[in-house]
Amino acid sequence: MKKKIIWIVAVLLVFALALAAYWTFLGPKANEGEKKVTIRVIVEKEGINKSFEYDTDLDFLGQLINEKKEELAAEISDMGGSFVKGMAGYVADESKNEFFSIKINDVDAMVGIDEIPLTDEDTYTFELTTW
């Protein structure tokens, strides 16, 4: 059993090192300083097309949405990372295969809101879509 504990401790140490390397080299990089950004919400079937402008020094989109949750009428669920379920008071209906797509300056985002760094003058669009 002692040998196994030594192995487990060794593996956990390697894990910690690998995790540190990941966050150093592959983790999301924040843009520091004050930024002026726009969050746009489109729910065509409800006639919703709203824009919200913010001056912020926060690092990531997820932080901003959480801070302005009430104003954005956003509903966020934690699924191992923040997941936008609702915006502008409309909650995506999963039974109808609805979800909010995220675009950064009209280009599809490849990651979730927690990993999207806020960049000055960028527009983040949340549009209700179906898959």
Partner: protein, 172 residues
Amino acid sequence: MVGKMKVKDIVLIGILSASLTAGKLALSFIPNVEIVTLLFIVFTLSLGIRRGLLIAIVFATTEILIYGFSTWVLLYYFIWPLLVVITGLLGKLIKSEYGYAILAAIFGLCFGLFAAINESIFYGLAYGLVYWTKGLVFDLVHGVSNFIIVLLLFKPLNKFISKQISSFLMEQ
């Protein structure tokens, strides 16, 4: 005799597939920590590749019935049978639980890579690459947890399961 064996096979495959589903659900609240890998290794060593493959197919199909049809379906019909085949082939070479723990760790670490390859078939290589790199932390957790779980539980579970299966198959 052949008929009886076939019935026993069906019963075994059903029960063991159900235990995989139950095992997966039991730990589903912890992301990427699972005992499915351990159970597949143990089942394959006790029952061989052919029955192991059937268990993997029933398990993957049950997952579809629970979670619905999506891109991961293709992955599940490939990755669990792959583990069964690798375990079956390496079973004669690996002599201790350390070997199986290393096999389970490699399997966990590579799981995201196979999932990314699967996703890139549907959404393109760029998406697959992002999918893989963004899931690397989960792969690390998967690999490390697989290593620890198999290292600690393989020996007692393998002893228990192989004994139970042997006595079940020997019964008239």
